[in-house]
Each structure stands twice: as structure tokens, then as C-alpha cells.
């Protein structure tokens, strides 16, 4: 069950789906966070820009205000209103929301302020511009909050919670800070009067801050807590994970359903294939339902079954034929003896009976010999006595052997043979030639002729036996080498053939690495041709007349 294709498919499906969903989820989570951070940053930048541009406008006043008494602000700014705004800011943001960075704990406020002042003084001492205006000694540690005159508070109009801000001058002196701003260490970004404005973004714990440095060295830091955003991002993450699980579950269930559906034809195919046996070998897989890739498989399987069926039927036919061929002479012997023994007979009757039995016995013997021979060839143990065989000699011997039969039928035997040596079993090759010759004589008309040729064509030895008999019908020609196949069944039975002669010829020739082919023209005769490979050294013999004949015919 665990190893079944369907389960493995489903497991892989689940793994791939999980991987894809995880990657997708992570990317989406990251993008969400990035978008959120970008929004926060742009909000912070926007605010910082507003502050810096306002600062720039009021710069001279701001710069001067460090060592001069605060100037009167124009009445336009509406001081009362601004002050009320400041107090409302204080109320909106709870003090614990802002976590102070570990480097600047609340208890070390004074120390941090002091060091930042020292730092800014050292840094600034080296700068050539703006021309150093002597600073009163009392102002060195003047890092006091709300150092800007009260009136300058309008600068920070519209900077609402949760935003906070801190404004330093180029020496790190805090000019202004919102009430709930955390302690932030001053970091000098000022590179000189002709440098471009510098902006930085940094995260400190739960705080996100941007610092803008104006061309005059004033630093504006705007920050806010991102704790709420992180929490909301986590919420989004959980939502994403939940959606992922839902999609995964649906995907796995749906995948299971789909794979089951896709594999159902496979199951039905396997059931059909399992049910195909000897009894119902003609049964096939239904191709109507499976017109997909599985249809191809079904088609291939069906073709395999076709071949199996054909092989099986071939085998069955052979067994039936062999059984018939063996049972018939057996029936002759048994019934003849039964008949003869049923009552006293004359000696002539006994003689006839014995002769009948002898004929039947001989036929069985020849049949059994042939079947055993074929079985040996089939099993791949032809037991050939290999040696050098002169085909011309073999052909001549066969001709002499069959001359009496040919004379009896008034058939002219002609032979045209060239000496030709092949490697093979002399007796078996002789059997082949004799068999072919005997067939040619038997199935020829009286007064016909049979010709044996041994020649060399394209490096092969060719033994051909042709007759001018009635020929073999074209539709029968492919079957003549099949076992027990008979073109004219009645005649063969009278001739006493077993129906295995040509099958044996084919097996012998193929065991010698050769080929046997038949050509026939109905009413004009039949030619059976045995093509045997020649040993390599004689195959290149240019002096051989057979080769020259072949070559000249090639050129003509």
C-alpha cells in the first residue's frame, strides 16, 4: 500500500506543494514587511523633510538663538495654539511605548547628554566653515531640551504621535525634542558646508528612525515605534500560514482525488490483464475509456497480448497437429490389430494387416525423429558435427539418391554445381538438399524437370532447387515453413510426408547462420533457395569462377 504508485504520487505531491507554499508564504511575508517598512520610512522621511525645510527657512534665527536671547517670533505663528498642541502630544503617547535603547538607559540620561556634548565639540573643532563663531563657555554643556525659543515650537506643527523628533545643531546640541522622544545618541552626519544633505535610516529595537542633516549641519531625527507594525505583521504571518495549511490540505485531498481518478483506468487495465488467461486469451483492454497516455499503454499491452495469443495459438495448433499426426498411425495400428484379431484370418489378411502396422509404425518413427530434431533445434542444441562441407558433393549425392524416384515419375533431374566449401554438418546439409529435391520431385507433374544449382553470389553460397511444377499459391507461400503446414493435404498424406520437412530444413539452415527462401509462380514452378555464409578466406577468392559470374552479371 505504502509503495503503491498512488501513495507515492500523493506523498510527492504533498512535499512539492508544501515547498511551493512555504516559499510563496515567505516571499509574501517578506514583501508585506518590506512594504510596511517602506511606508513607515517614507512617512518618517516626509516628516523629516518638512522639519528640515522649515528649519532651513528659520536657520539664521536658530543658529543665532544658541548664544543670543530668543527673538520675538512674528505674531502670525500663534504661540498659544502651538503650546496647546505640544501638551496634547504628550498625552497621546504613553511613555512605556517608547523603549529606550540599551546604550542609553533612562538612568544615564545626564551622562549621555554630557558625552554627546563633548563629542560634538571635538568633531566640530576641525571644520573650516561656517566661520567659527566663538561660543560662550556657558553654552558648552547646553544640551538642554527645548533649547529653541518657545516661539520656534511652530516648526514642529503637524508632527503628531506616534512620531517623535529630536533636532540637534551641528555640534550635537539638542535644539528641540518632542516630549516623549527617547534618549538618542547624536551621530554627526555633517561633512561640511558644501556637502549635500545626508539622510540615514536606522532601526533600534522596536524603533524606526530617520536622520536628515541639512547643509548647515542641523540634524533632524524623526522616529516612531514599530511595535504595533511588528505585531500586525505577525498577525499577517499567522493568517498566511493558516491559508497555506488550508491550501495544502485542499491540494493534497484534491491531488489524491485526481490521482485516484487518473489511475482508475490503470486499475481496470491491471484487472483485465490479470484476468487474461489461456481460457479467455482473446480478451482485451477496453481502449474506449483510455484515450490518453494510458491509452497508449493499453494499446501496447493489447499488442503484446495479440502477439502472445498468436504465439499461444501457434503452439496450440502445433500440439494439436503433432497429436493428430501421432494418433492417426496409432489408431491404424490399434484398429488394424483389433480387426484382424476379431476372428480367424487367412495368411494374406494377416500379411496385409502386418504391412499396414509396419507402415504406421514407420510413419510414427519418422514423425518422432523429426519432432525430436526440431525440439533440439528449438532448445538451441542442434548438435551439429561441424566440418568443411563441399556443397557440390552434397548436391550430387542427393541427386543420385533421388534419381530412382525421379525416373519413376519421369522427371528430368539436372544439376549445375560449382565446388563450394562451407563450414557445417554434412549429414544435416545433405538432409536439407535431399528434402528440397524430394519435395520438388513429388510435387512436380510427370515429365517435368527439377534443377539443382550451387553457386556463389555476393560472398554467399547459394543452393537452389527449382521445379516447373504447379507452384505454390501466393497466399500459401509465407506458411510453407510452418510445422505441419500442407499446401495440398490429400497429396501429402498419400506421399507419406510428415509436414515437417521444410520446417526442419529451415531450422538446419538457420543453425548454420543461413537463410532459406521460397519463390513461386503458380503454374510455372517453385524455387527454394538456401543461402549459406562462406568462410571469409574463400569469400574473397577472386579466382573463383562463381565470383566472376556474379561480378559480370553485376556489371551488365
Amino acid at each position: 500500500m505504502i509503495r503503491s504508485l498512488r501513495w507515492r504520487l500523493q506523498a510527492w505531491h504533498a512535499v512539492v506543494l508544501t515547498a511551493v507554499l512555504s516559499i510563496f508564504g515567505m516571499v509574501v511575508y517578506h514583501l508585506l514587511w518590506q512594504t510596511r517598512i517602506d511606508q513607515i520610512d517614507s512617512e518618517l522621511h516626509r516628516t523629516a523633510e518638512v522639519l528640515t525645510s522649515r528649519l532651513r527657512r528659520l536657520l539664521p534665527a536658530v543658529q543665532m538663538s544658541r548664544w543670543r536671547p530668543p527673538m520675538e517670533l512674528p505674531e502670525v505663528l500663534g504661540r498659544e495654539w502651538l503650546q496647546s498642541l505640544n501638551t496634547s502630544n504628550e498625552m497621546e503617547l504613553e511613555s512605556e511605548v517608547i523603549q529606550r535603547p540599551p546604550s542609553a538607559p533612562a538612568s544615564d540620561d545626564e551622562q549621555a547628554r554630557g558625552s554627546s556634548g563633548v563629542f560634538s565639540e571635538q568633531q566640530f573643532g576641525q571644520r573650516p566653515f561656517p566661520p567659527e563663531i566663538p561660543r560662550p563657555e556657558s553654552m558648552t554643556n547646553l544640551a538642554d531640551e527645548h533649547w529653541l525659543p518657545e516661539d520656534f515650537v511652530t516648526l514642529f506643527e503637524g508632527v503628531d504621535a506616534p512620531l517623535y523628533y529630536i533636532v540637534w545643531d551641528r555640534d550635537g546640541v539638542i535644539l528641540q525634542r518632542s516630549d516623549f522622544a527617547p534618549q538618542v545618541k547624536f551621530e554627526n552626519l555633517y561633512k561640511g558646508w558644501n556637502s549635500l544633505p545626508v539622510r540615514t535610516v536606522q532601526s533600534r529595537g522596536w524603533l524606526r528612525e530617520v536622520t536628515h542633516c541639512t547643509s548647515f549641519g542641523n540634524h533632524v531625527l524623526v522616529g516612531r515605534s514599530i511595535q504595533g507594525d511588528v505585531a500586525s505583521q505577525h498577525g499577517s504571518g499567522w493568517l498566511l500560514a493558516a491559508c497555506g495549511w488550508l491550501v495544502l490540505t485542499l491540494g493534497v485531498v484534491g491531488g489524491g482525488w485526481l490521482s485516484g481518478r487518473a489511475l482508475r483506468p490503470l486499475a481496470s487495465m491491471s484487472v483485465t490483464a490479470k484476468n487474461i488467461s489461456v481460457e479467455n486469451i482473446s480478451q482485451r483492454i477496453d481502449l474506449a475509456e483510455t484515450d490518453s497516455e494510458l491509452g497508449q499503454l493499453a494499446l501496447v499491452l493489447n499488442q503484446t497480448f495479440d502477439r502472445l495469443q498468436s504465439a499461444f495459438e501457434h503452439q496450440l495448433r502445433f500440439t494439436a497437429d503433432a497429436s493428430h499426426e501421432l494418433r492417426t498411425p496409432l489408431a491404424v495400428i490399434l484398429s488394424q490389430t483389433e480387426l484382424t484379431l476379431s476372428k480367424p484370418r487367412s495368411s494374406d489378411e494377416y500379411r496385409t494387416a502386418l504391412e499396414t502396422c509396419q507402415r504406421a509404425g514407420r510413419r510414427m518413427r519418422s514423425l518422432i525423429d523429426s519432432l525430436l530434431l526440431l525440439a533440439r533445434f528449438d532448445a538451441g542444441h542442434p548438435e551439429l558435427q561441424r566440418g568443411s562441407v563441399d556443397l557440390a558433393e552434397v548436391a550430387n549425392e542427393s541427386v543420385e539418391l533421388l534419381r530412382p524416384l525421379a525416373d519413376e515419375r519421369k522427371i528430368t533431374l539436372r544439376s549445375e554445381v560449382l565446388p563450394m566449401s562451407v563450414v557445417g554438418d554434412r549429414d544435416r546439409l545433405g538432409q536439407v538438399v535431399t528434402n528440397l529435391l524430394a519435395n520438388a520431385i513429388r510435387y512436380n507433374q510427370e515429365g517435368g524437370h527439377v534443377e539443382v544449382r550451387v553457386e556463389r553470389v555476393n560472398g554467399h553460397a547459394i543452393v537452389s532447387v527449382s521445379d516447373n511444377g504447379i507452384g505454390i499459391p501466393t497466399e500459401e507461400l509465407p506458411h510453407i515453413f510452418e510445422r505441419f503446414y500442407r499446401v495440398d493435404k490429400a497429396r501429402t498424406r498419400v506421399e507419406g510426408g510428415t509436414g515437417l520437412g521444410l520446417a526442419i530444413c529451415q531450422s538446419v539452415v538457420e543453425a548454420h547462420g543461413g537463410q532459406i527462401t521460397a519463390r513461386s509462380e503458380p503454374e510455372h514452378g517453385t524455387t527454394l533457395e538456401v543461402r549459406l555464409p562462406l568462410p571469409p578466406e574463400t569469400g574473397k577468392d577472386l579466382q573463383n569462377p562463381g565470383y566472376l559470374v556474379a561480378a559480370s552479371s553485376f556489371h551488365s
Binding site: 497429436s323 493428430h324 492417426t328 489408431a331 493435404k489
Partner: protein, 217 residues
């Protein structure tokens, strides 16, 4: 009784034909399917012994074509003995089946049973008044005494008994009692009838002038 034997193996054909002749049948022979079909259609055989594997037209085809016109009992003779073969044989209208190599006694017994069945007689021993005909042993008794009949006389008695209470024409008698090789004068039916009447009683066989003979009992 006249029987057609179809077999392509000459020795087997000869043996079977001889056996049947010795058992009192008139036997015609055929060595291929076409010849067999022609003869089976042309004559009224009491039975056909048909080999399956035949040249020109195999046994199944002969049987099928014969069944289109006639219901002559057919006994198939074959080397194939699988269940499928038997079923196929019986399905295609064969009346019985004998597998090679067969016992001649069995063949004769099956053939006799086949002929008897097709004539509508289910028992082997048929009684007509005081005459009793045993088709199995081919023995006729009258008042429990054995009556010696020549094979031809017995064949005629058997034919008439199997078709008792039916008119049997002279042509039918000729057709059933004599085979194609029989050209002797022993085929004078009148002589045989008269001999049978001497042995089994005057009224055993009734003559219908111009029509034929019958056993009325």
C-alpha cells in the same frame, strides 16, 4: 444399414470400412471433405463416420454444410480430445464423438446406438409379437428360439424393425442395404423378403404392392 466413412488416412479408412462391413453395414468411403459432402448429400446414409482433419474441406465444414440440408446422424472421429473440441463438435451438430486412437468395438457400439436413436428406438432389443430382434448382438429369436439369418437378411429385418409401422420403399431398402461397391445379384430384395418370411412367419412382413414393405406389429 448404410454408412459413409470419411477418413484421409488410407490405412485407417480401409480398416474402419472393413470392420463395418464385417459387422453387416453397407459402407461407402470418402478420403476428402468435398467427396464426403457430395456423397452425404446424395445418399440417405443411416450414419456418417467423419474425421475432423480432412483435405479440401475439414470435418467441421462438412458437418455444417450437411446440417443445412440433412439430419443424417454424424459420428465425429478426431485426434483432438480437448473439452473445447468436444463441445465444439457437439455444438455444431455432431451426434457423437470418438477420439483417436479408438477401439473398434466402441466405434461399432456408438454407431449402433446412434442409428437406433435416430430411428426413434431407445432400446437395443425390439420385440414384435413373438419375434425378438437384438440389435446389439444382431440375433433374432422367434418364440425364444434362435433364428439363423444371413447378414443381408438380418440387415433387412433390422431396417424394417427400426422403421416399424412405416412404409419402407424398395428404393430405401436399396439405399440402406447396399453400398456403392455392391454389384452382386444379392440385392434382389424380393428373395430376401421371401426367405425372411419362411423363417419368421408369413405375416411378419407386409407387402404393399407398388409401394414397398412394412412391419405392422
Amino acid at each position: 444399414m448404410r454408412v459413409l466413412v470419411v477418413e484421409d488416412e488410407p490405412d485407417l479408412l480401409r480398416v474402419v470400412a472393413t470392420t463395418l462391413r464385417e459387422d453387416g453395414y453397407a459402407v461407402d468411403t470418402a478420403a476428402d471433405g468435398e467427396d464426403a459432402l457430395f456423397k452425404a448429400k446424395a445418399w440417405e446414409y443411416d450414419a456418417v463416420v467423419l474425421d475432423v482433419m480432412l483435405p479440401k474441406l475439414d470435418g467441421w465444414a462438412v458437418l455444417q454444410k450437411l446440417r443445412e440440408v440433412k439430419h443424417t446422424p454424424v459420428l465425429m472421429l478426431t485426434a483432438r480430445d480437448t473439452v473445447q473440441d468436444r463441445v465444439r463438435g457437439l455444438n455444431s451438430g455432431a451426434d457423437d464423438y470418438v477420439v483417436k486412437p479408438f477401439s473398434l468395438t466402441e466405434l461399432l457400439a456408438r454407431l449402433r446406438a446412434l442409428i437406433r436413436r435416430s430411428a426413434g428406438q431407445s432400446t437395443a432389443v425390439i420385440e414384435i409379437g413373438e419375434v425378438c430382434v437384438n440389435t446389439l448382438t444382431k440375433v433374432v429369436t422367434r418364440q425364444d428360439e434362435l433364428v439363423a439369418l444371413t447378414p443381408m437378411e438380418y440387415a433387412l429385418v433390422e431396417l424394417l424393425v427400426l422403421h416399424r409401422q412405416q412404409m419402407v420403399s424398395r428404393t430405401t431398402i436399396y439405399d440402406h442395404l447396399f453400398d456403392e461397391e455392391d454389384d452382386s445379384f444379392s440385392n434382389l430384395v424380393d428373395v430376401h423378403v421371401s426367405n425372411i418370411r419362411k423363417k419368421l412367419g408369413r405375416d411378419f412382413i407386409t407387402t404393399r404392392r407398388g409401394q414397398g414393405y412394412m412391419i405392422e406389429g
